[in-house]
């Protein structure tokens, strides 16, 4: 518990001390002196097409939603103060689409997370962090003039949206044993958070994603399979799809023997695969490891994960 309390307490104690130092996304740009905020109504005098685009969205200037705690709202929340731009009556003195398009991912994401602070929290180690993908690449419905991919609303399943950029996963989901994403029964987002890494603070790390549905493997067990509790589920399973039953990574016994290979332990028995039992005869009799070791994820009654 101490390890939990210390970092959290440290952050909370640190925050008030530096609270005055926070600045907005706009400060990443060289905003000219004298530029001031004019309000979205002034912007829409010329950019009425943009107002139309946003008519039914949270970004509609009419809704007046502001960056939390700043009062800066509408167009200028993302494009910066527009007074000089208005006075100039040209394309200058504003953080326009071309300038934004040439920014790195960090700046682009910072623009959105001014308001979407929860996503800012999550983005740190996410699968798309550090790439050239930013919010607008996927949220094309929400950000005007954004290109990239077909909007999610155009698809029957949310999964199909993600697979536009992940064709390798399409092939996985066509394998004989698979999670049924293409069939629409499971979405990518059921397991993956596109904004964030697997939750490092979840009780069982990455495995927690799997255990949300496969709760019976969660235990806690008296006897844990080390391969379950300290490794990842993907050590043995290919969650997207596999040629092998139960989404195993390789053919049955070959998978178990990757780790459980101990030919020297019981020399008197010739060839063995288990620490204290000779298994040669068993494995020549068409048996698989889990024919006997049925409780391979964990057991409360048998240390060797058998039914007894």
């Amino acid at each position: 518990m101490l390890r939990l309390i210390l970092p959290v307490a440290g952050i909370l104690l640190l925050s008030p001390g530096i609270a005055a130092g926070g600045v907005s996304f706009v400060d990443a740009f060289d905003v000219p002196d004298g530029a001031g905020y004019v309000g979205s109504e002034t912007c829409l005098d010329c950019h009425d097409d943009v107002g139309e685009f946003y008519a039914n969205s949270p970004h509609s200037p009419e809704r007046g939603l502001a960056i939390p705690g700043t009062g800066i709202a509408g167009c200028e929340a993302c494009h910066g103060p527009g007074s000089l731009h208005v006075e100039e009556e040209g394309d200058g003195f504003i953080i326009g689409p071309e300038i934004l398009a040439n920014q790195g991912q960090g700046v682009k994401v910072a623009m959105c997370t001014q308001c979407h602070t929860d996503q800012g929290l999550e983005w740190t180690g996410g699968p798309h962090a550090g790439t050239d993908i930013s919010c607008a690449n996927c949220h094309t419905d929400q950000v005007h003039f954004a290109g990239g991919v077909t909007p999610v609303s155009e698809f029957r399943n949310k999964g199909e949206f993600c697979l536009q950029c992940h064709p390798a996963q399409v092939t996985d989901f066509r394998l004989p044993f698979r999670h049924r994403v293409l069939e629409g029964q499971i979405d990518c987002q059921d397991c993956h958070n596109p904004h964030a890494d697997f939750d490092q603070t979840a009780w069982n790390g990455m495995n927690s994603v799997c255990l949300e549905c496969h709760v019976e493997m969660e235990g806690p067990f008296v006897y844990e399979h080390d391969g379950v509790s300290s490794e990842d589920c993907v050590t043995c399973h290919r969650p997207h799809g596999s040629n092998h039953d139960k989404l195993l990574i390789t053919e049955s016994n070959s998978m178990c023997l990757q780790c459980h290979f101990e030919q020297g332990f019981n020399a008197g028995d010739g060839w063995t695969f288990d620490g204290n039992r000779g298994h040669t005869n068993r494995l020549t009799n068409e048996a698989r490891c889990y024919d006997c070791h049925t409780e391979v994820h964990g057991s409360n009654t048998d240390p060797n994960f058998k039914d007894r």
Partner: protein
């Protein structure tokens, strides 16, 4: 004698597709190559217009019913499918939608999903998601025995195993003010039915087992968010319970009674336009008070795991060209679990696992046409575990006990690079290395003759993984990707004569899409070939009749397709997908396993009016294996789609 060593993959035929490409290059949107979503039901109309589709399908099946049902969830000879979407926007800007689809192709009952939601933009949004699907399982659990190709077929389960998954979730987000927001929801998952198990008994030639499920999981969760200026935070609480029963037919009955409570706090603070701090803290408590009935004995279970975890991270923008992310993660798991028979403790465990994990990642895009990213992760964990008989560890009635003291160190290094060769081509590369070292003391036994848990000893793992891809765009019409992926893993057991196993996988792939803008013909295709091999690399060799020790699998996939439009009203589509999987194993003792999937769909669509479309399709799915599970499905479908 050394066993077979790794061979590299042969990537065949990939360049052939490239010769058809036009050489004219111009700037284009950087989309990946992709095939049409041919898997969608016949005549789908989707989008943000109100729409609906009704489909009638007839199946002409041949061969193994269970395997076909497992692959495609198709059982009924005649079935219907429906798909719809309804959207409405009020004058005040509020929006509502209902989307869904369903079919009765499985057991004849209706299964499917719907998504109902609404919002007041910027203030309130809600969503209800419901899914109800049946999963079917093959009746046999087959073994790669030396003579497996010969009759008779293996024993099989009676009936067709079917497991129903029903899930529902409700979520609502409410923005109280500029600074405060609330979020909450409810999730429910039910599993009812039976599924095929890999279990077949000690001899391996018995009827496969079946697992029976009747479990329900409910979860309530809620949170509050607060943000002001540079500071953001959210607090989430959740409570989950799982009840029900499971059974491993005739051998083991389970009564589930599990609860979990969790709390998580997240904070972020923008220090400047260059630095941002983030932090998470979480705690959870998992309890299991279920019951196991094994071979006539009923055991009461009492297990509890308490977790506390924290994460603190720094995001930094280093000039205009580089970003840095660094974080430290801590997790502590404490478990106490015991099994009682009547009032007597049979065995009990105390387990403490502490782990620390430090990560740093830098990406740099200061070089022309280049993006670089380097990540490094260093983690350690310690496990202290005591398993005891007759009492909890440290108790006065303890009989024999065993202590496990294990320490782990893991390093992950990853490097990614992307270089734009020109307007039309980009090369991408990724290399990753993992090293894991596990030191395990002991075994420390109170009674050396009574080992209570399996002891693995010291072991090391080294895994290299790399990917190389060339992405090309020719004009606005042609997209072509080609690449190679590989994994090379070595696993050593230090305490057993330094035994060593290897696992290697290689895969080559290519995607081609040709979509002439405004033209009448689209072409697309994909080809991939992969090899993976598992081998033992140290003496002694296995016994001559040992089965399934080597694994040497290859998978080839070929998937071309075309769309052709005739005038404004008629469209023709054709798609083929062929997959061949082979496991050569050890040819001397195990016959080669070979499985072919041949899938084809032909579809014709005729636009009846600006808002209605009629489609007919023929689909053929064949599975051809040199064992017993062959089947062919001929599917004929007609559908009407409309927007309104």
């Amino acid at each position: 004698m050394k066993m077979k060593r790794t061979t590299t993959a042969t990537v065949l035929g990939l360049a052939l597709l490239a010769f058809a490409l036009p050489t004219l290059a111009e700037e284009t949107v950087d989309l990946p190559a992709q095939a049409e979503p041919i898997w969608a039901p016949t005549g789908d109309v989707i989008g943000q217009d109100n729409h609906g589709t009704a489909t009638f399908q007839s199946k002409d099946p041949h061969g193994n019913e269970a395997k076909g049902a497992e692959d495609w969830q198709l059982v009924q000879k005649y079935s219907g499918q429906g798909l719809f979407g309804y959207f409405r926007t009020q004058e005040n800007g509020s929006q509502y939608w209902l989307r869904g689809y369903g079919d009765n192709a499985g057991t004849g009952g209706l299964v499917g999903k719907f998504d109902l939601g609404g919002n007041i933009p910027g203030q309130f949004k809600w969503n209800i998601d419901f899914r109800d699907f049946d999963y079917f399982y093959d009746r046999t659990s087959e073994m790669r025995a030396p003579g497996f190709a010969a009759p008779p077929p293996p024993p099989e389960l009676e009936g067709l195993p079917k497991l129903n998954w029903r899930r529902a979730s409700i979520r609502a987000d409410y923005r109280l003010s500029d600074q405060f927001s609330l979020v909450g929801g409810f999730n429910r998952k039910c599993r009812i039915g039976d599924k095929g198990s890999l279990l077949r008994g000690d001899t391996g030639s018995s009827v496969p087992g079946a697992k029976l499920f009747d479990t329900t999981t409910n979860e309530f969760w809620g949170g509050i968010g607060f943000a002001t200026g540079s500071f953001g935070s959210d607090l989430n609480l959740s409570y989950r319970s799982t009840d029900g029963s499971r059974s491993l037919e005739g051998r083991h009955d389970y009564t589930d009674d599990q609860t979990r409570f969790g709390a998580k706090l997240g904070v972020s603070y923008v220090l400047s336009d260059q630095f941002k701090l983030v932090g998470h803290g979480a705690t959870s408590k998992l309890e299991n008070t279920g019951r196991d009935n094994v071979l006539g004995n009923t055991y009461d279970l009492n297990g509890e795991t308490t977790t506390s975890a924290g994460q603190i991270g720094l995001l930094a923008r280093l000039g205009k060209s580089a970003n840095l992310a660094a974080s430290a993660n801590f997790r502590n798991l404490d478990t106490d679990a015991q099994t009682n028979l009547a009032a007597d403790i049979q065995q009990a465990t105390t387990r403490k696992r502490d782990s620390q994990d430090y990560r740093i990642g830098i990406n740099y895009h200061g070089l022309s046409k280049t993006l670089l990213r380097l990540d490094y992760r260093y983690g350690t964990s310690n496990l202290d575990q005591t398993v005891a008989e007759s009492d909890v560890p440290g108790g006065t009635q303890v009989g024999d006990y065993q202590v496990t003291d294990q320490s782990r160190t893991q390093q992950d290094l990853s490097f990614r690079a992307r270089y734009r060769l020109g307007i039309a081509a980009t090369i991408k590369a990724r290399f990753a290395w993992r090293n894991q070292e596990i030191d395990q003391q002991g075994p420390v036994l109170s009674n050396p003759g009574n080992e209570l848990t399996f002891w693995m000893g010291d072991r090391d793992l080294n895994r290299y993984r790399w990917e190389l891809a060339l992405r090309m765009r020719f004009g606005r019409w042609v997209r072509f990707d080609i690449g190679h992926q590989a994994i090379d893993q070595t696993y050593k057991r230090k305490d057993f004569g330094m035994s060593e196993t290897t696992w290697n996988a290689n895969r080559g792939f290519s995607n081609l899409t040709w979509t002439p803008a405004g033209g009448s013909l689209d072409l697309y295709g994909m080809f991939s070939y992969g090899v993976e091999r598992y081998a033992l690399t140290t003496d002694p060799v296995p016994a001559a009749d040992m089965n399934a020790i080597d694994y040497d699998g290859s998978t080839m996939r070929f998937s071309p397709g075309a769309n052709y439009r005739i005038g404004d009203n008629l469209s023709l589509e054709g798609h083929y997908e062929g997959i061949r999987f082979e496991d050569t194993g050890n040819d001397e003792v195990i016959k080669k396993l070979q499985a072919d999937h041949d899938r084809m769909r032909l579809r014709a669509g005729y636009k009846l009016s600006s808002s209605a479309k009629l489609s007919v399709s023929y689909t053929r799915n064949e599975f051809d294996e040199n064992r017993w599970d062959d089947y062919i499905h001929h599917l004929y479908a007609v559908s009407v789609s409309g927007t309104f």
